[in-house]
């Protein structure tokens, strides 16, 4: 297996620290540039982009090298400040840095939309947000992990409420609530582990052996806590509200990478930290079940959306589900003592984690470009944008095909590995696994078909067909500015490369999986062939499929050219589409609502589930509000009974003493003389 060589670069850990310092510098510089939005954009964006580059340079070589550690004393004896760059955290560092780099490039033009609405603050919070995400994944001490986790939630909260309208504030509040409920569960999990490990260092957590029931409890706490961050159903409710409220380049970061930290946390707790404790089969099955349900429901809800960013946010729920399918199989493999299966499952999950970050980032940036020009998130008011925004349209199309798992793009490769891991699990294994995994595969197929429908709708309604803008005099929008196109272009290229170059990428991802599990490496590629677990099970070659597709496309072109005899009349713009003799109207063409209508009809019961889930959350919100009102009402009681009497007493005493202080200095002299006499009398006696 040939590995990429990065020996010309400095030590990854140094680069990581450089990246963090650059982010901190960008945050401060952005604040200092207060009052000048143009300058703030650049002094936040450039250091941010450089931090992204440094992070990539730190993460990529660390993917396959041994773990490196950075350690200094913390403020408290239990809080050793330890950063650890192992393959798992390097994977996250690389993904976060790539997305940060692209988002910062994109932001150079995009934040023009937010001029005069606090651009310096946005630069500050975004830089801190990126830095805190990197710190969370490399922190190797529970105390610091929680501190950075909290910092990540807080900074992203300020980005969510950036618009300051009622919807954003409400979304932000819900996000705040769920994020903290999650961190409480995570905290509990870590406290239990610390109790057994005798310290808060993850290094001690890894070697601690918990009794089986307690290990299960820690797993459950961690799974639910991090699951809320990842946005899996039914803990997803904040996600489709919070992500669309943020500015688009922040949505790309939140949906692309922040929710991955939830998945990272689940892997960290279940596989990395609890590795020495007995793990039960039902953990993996639970993750598998949550993954399958999240993937199907996520995409079903996405289909019904008109709001482009909400649609994308629901797709994040779906893709988290797909990642969890892989992780679940990995855990099943671990529990059943089948390391090859564990590596395959985890590798599929990691591969999809990378891919989802890339294409979801791309799609959010594409949506941002459209919103930048159209000033609306409602797809029903778009249409036909592909004619004047061809590059945005092309990038969005690549992203749409990648997320729909269309071969030979990257989404397909990771889903193929996910299927193969499910298949391998079904082949051998306990009856329960045999029962669960084919059903999960079927649900993944359903998800895939629904995703195709959803993205045909999204691309079609935004970029294809006639313009549906309610104001006909609204001119066709211009192409997005260059920095935004560059940002999207990088991610679109990544979608293609991660798909076609899969025979090179898959072994690297496989190494990360096997190193995380501490298992023997598994071969994932043989030349240009991708193999899941031996060539007998299946083979795939995305480069070959790409070549075949291009080669076969020559045939219809040649047939057309030959048979039509070079018809010079060919290619003519015709009349408006035929509408059964009626005058064609823009409103006759497919809309976001009409296109998904059959699915809304056929999958009606699933939408009812959402309604009842939403009512649970609304109930929680109402109860929380009642609690706040109660607190507000009880708060004066303290004043009335404790604070008020004291202040009143002091006040009264003061007023009584007022006559003494008459303002006549002769009286004051008399006081001094009297005092002297008293003191003399006391000392003489």
């Amino acid at each position: 297996m040939t590995m990429m060589s990065f020996s010309f670069l400095p030590d990854p850990m140094d680069l990581l620290l450089v990246s963090l310092l650059l982010s901190a510098f960008g945050a401060l510089a952005s604040l200092l540039a207060k009052g000048n939005d143009g300058v703030a954009t650049w002094v936040a964006g450039l250091p941010g982009a450089l931090a992204g580059l440094a992070g990539l340079a730190a993460g990529l070589p660390a993917l396959t090298s041994p773990a490196s550690v950075f350690e200094t004393a913390g403020p408290y004896p239990f809080a050793h400040f330890i950063l650890r760059l192992d393959p798992l955290s390097a994977l996250l560092v690389a993904v976060i840095s790539l997305l940060a780099l692209v988002s910062w490039i994109y932001s150079l033009a995009y934040v023009r939309e937010y001029r005069g609405r606090g651009v310096p603050a946005m630069g500050f919070f975004m830089n801190l947000f990126v830095a805190s995400m990197i710190l969370v994944v490399v922190a190797d001490n529970a105390f610091w992990f929680l501190v950075f986790f909290e910092m990540m939630s807080l900074t992203s909260y300020f980005v969510v409420i950036f618009d300051q309208d009622e919807e954003a504030v409400r979304a932000g509040f819900l996000y705040f609530l769920v994020a903290h409920a999650g961190s409480v569960l995570i905290m509990a999990a870590f406290f239990i582990m610390a109790n057994y490990a005798g310290s808060y260092d993850f290094a001690d957590f890894r070697t601690a052996t918990l009794p089986a029931p307690l290990a299960s409890l820690v797993f459950l706490l961690g799974f639910l806590g991090f699951g809320a961050k990842a946005g899996m159903i039914p803990l997803h409710i904040w996600l489709p509200r919070a992500h669309p409220a943020a500015p688009s380049h922040a949505s790309a970061l939140m949906s692309g990478v922040m929710i991955k930290i939830g998945v990272f946390g689940i892997v960290k707790v279940a596989i990395d930290l609890l590795g020495a404790s007995p793990n039960a089969l039902w953990w993996g099955l639970l993750v598998l079940a949550f993954g399958a349900v999240s993937s199907v429901l996520g995409v079903v809800y996405a289909l019904a959306e008109h709001d482009i960013k909400k649609l994308l946010a629901y797709h994040s729920v779906e893709n988290i589900g797909i990642i969890l399918l892989g992780v679940g199989v990995g855990m099943i493999g671990m529990a059943t003592g089948n390391p090859a299966l564990a590596v395959l499952g985890l590798m599929a999950g990691f591969y999809h984690l990378i891919n989802h970050a890339v294409f979801k980032g791309l799609l959010f940036l594409g949506a941002g470009s459209v919103i930048f020009r159209m000033h609306t998130k409602d797809m029903e008011k778009m249409g036909g944008l592909g004619r004047t925004m061809p590059w945005t349209a092309l990038s969005f199309l690549i992203g749409a095909m990648a997320i729909s798992a269309i071969p030979p793009l990257n989404g397909f490769v990771s889903e193929w590995y996910t299927y193969q891991s499910l298949f391998l699990a079904a082949l051998g294994g306990t009856p329960f696994v045999k029962f669960a995994t084919p059903i999960a595969a079927m649900m993944l197929a359903l998800t895939g078909a629904l995703a195709v429908m959803c993205f045909v709708k999204a691309y079609g309604v935004i970029f294809a067909g006639p313009s549906r803008h309610p104001d006909p005099s609204h001119g066709a929008p211009e192409e997005a500015p260059r920095p935004m196109l560059i940002g999207m272009g990088i991610l679109a290229a990544a979608c293609i490369v991660l798909g076609i170059a899969a025979p090179v990428v898959a072994p690297v991802v496989g190494t990360i999986a096997s190193r995380t599990l501490g298992a023997a490496p598994v071969a994932f590629a043989d030349g240009a062939l991708l193999i899941p677990a031996g060539e007998g099970q299946a083979v795939l070659s995305t480069p070959l499929i790409a070549v075949l597709l291009i080669g076969m496309a020559v045939l219809p072109v040649v047939i057309k050219a030959m048979l039509s005899g070079g018809n010079t009349l060919a290619r003519r713009k015709g009349e408006a589409p035929w509408a059964a003799g009626y005058l064609p109207d823009v409103h006759m063409s497919a809309t976001a609502g009409s296109f998904a209508q059959p699915i809304r009809m056929f999958f009606g019961p699933l939408y009812d589930v959402r309604r009842s889930l939403a009512s649970v959350w609304t109930g929680l919100e109402v109860r929380f509000e009642r609690f706040v009102t109660f607190a507000r009402r009880t708060e004066p009681l303290w004043d009335r009974h404790i604070v008020d009497p004291v202040t009143e007493g002091v006040d009264k005493a003061g007023r009584r003493l007022q006559p003494i202080q008459g303002g006549d200095f002769r009286v004051y002299c008399l006081y001094i003389v009297a005092a002297l006499v008293v003191l003399l009398a006391l000392t003489v006696r």
């Binding site: 036909g384 004619r387 061809p390 349209a393 095909m401 798992a405 397909f412 193929w416 193969q420 298949f423 079904a426 082949l427 045999k434 029962f435 084919p438 595969a441 649900m443 359903l446 895939g448 078909a449 429908m453 993205f455 045909v456 079609g460 062939l529 007998g536 099970q537 299946a538 083979v539 795939l540 070659s541 070959l544 499929i545 075949l548 076969m552 496309a553 045939l555 219809p556 072109v557 047939i559 048979l563 039509s564 018809n567 009349l569 060919a570 290619r571 003519r572 015709g574 408006a576 589409p577 035929w578 059964a580 006759m588 063409s589 497919a590 296109f595 998904a596 209508q597 059959p598 009809m601």
Partner: protein, 312 residues
């Protein structure tokens, strides 16, 4: 990686399917005329139609864009790629790296993606509805296909279409009942994929003016029509390659492949005879009731699953 002889076989197989596709759709038209007791067009009518369309003007609506123009090429290219990976003349996939069951299903999704997108891109309301229906059918059918094929794959121990076919031909399956039931479920799904009555939803001629095809004309229309008949031959070949592989060649010998060709021609003739009888004796199902039909498919596939689990 495949060697040269496999690549030659793959290309020949793809070209062969492309060449006979209009013949097969002509055969369907002849059958329909017979059942209507009218004379109808000859067996080669579809070739004449294609040639005639090729000479016509290629028009596209003013609202259409890039996708509308590239779709005919993308669709045909995709179907040709699937043809290179499906075991049709031989027991094994000519190009194994494209002949995995998951790859095949998702390559069909590529064709479906562009086919439906072109419907929206044309701006026509009929095409838009057709596109929506095409994708809805995909949603209803793909899970059935996946479950049925995975059952067969589990029985054979591999997701490679050729390996599954080989195992079934050799009788190396752990459960005969499960295989047969999975075959029935897959046949049902394939029938819906054919786009024939009663499931002629997306291109519904009388109802939607041929759905996504509405706005195509001239050479582009010819390519799409050709691709649709290629798809019909291909899905039947796919079914035969997996569940009825008997008679196909087990090696690369010329005689074996020629024999495989003859057997394949017979299979196609019988399959489309059955399809023709069904298609001409039913009316179109109402679109809003199709889920009830596809649930039958899910039910049958689940039955295969139960048989597999029990090990019957």
């Amino acid at each position: 990686m495949p060697d040269l002889s496999h690549i030659i076989l793959a290309v020949c197989q793809a070209l062969l399917l492309l060449a006979v596709a209009p013949l097969v759709s002509g055969y369907s038209r002849v059958l329909r005329a017979k059942m209507h007791t009218r004379r109808g067009p000859g067996l080669l009518q579809d070739y004449r139609d294609l040639v005639k369309l090729m000479g016509r003007q290629d028009m596209h609506p003013p609202a259409s864009g890039m996708v509308f123009r590239v779709m005919p090429v993308v669709m045909m290219a995709t179907l040709l790629v699937i043809s290179t990976g499906t075991p049709i003349l031989t027991r094994f996939s000519p190009i194994q790296a494209a002949g995995d069951l998951i790859t095949t299903i998702y390559l069909f999704a590529l064709a479906r993606f562009f086919f439906s997108l072109s419907g929206i891109d044309s701006g026509s309301s009929f095409a838009g509805i057709g596109a929506s229906r095409e994708l809805t059918l995909g949603v209803l059918v793909e899970p059935v296909m996946m479950l049925a094929l995975i059952m067969a794959a589990l029985l054979a121990g591999s997701t490679d279409l050729g390996t599954i076919g080989t195992a079934i031909a050799a009788g190396h399956v752990h459960s005969l009942t499960a295989t047969v039931v999975a075959a029935v479920a897959f046949a049902f799904a394939v029938y819906i994929e054919l786009g024939k009555l009663p499931y002629d939803m997306a291109e519904a001629e009388q109802e939607l003016q041929e759905g996504p095809l509405t706005e195509y004309s001239g050479p582009s229309l010819a390519l799409v029509k050709w691709s649709l008949s290629l798809k019909q031959v291909l899905v039947v070949g796919w079914f035969a390659g997996v569940f009825l592989p008997f008679g196909s060649s087990t090696d690369l010998s010329v005689t074996g492949i020629l024999l495989g060709l003859v057997v394949f021609a017979l299979k196609i003739a019988v399959a489309f005879l059955v399809v023709g009888v069904i298609e001409n004796s039913v009316s179109r199902a109402r679109f809003r009731f199709t889920p009830q039909h596809s649930w039958i498919g899910v039910g049958v596939a689940s039955l295969a699953f139960v048989f597999y689990l029990v090990g019957l």
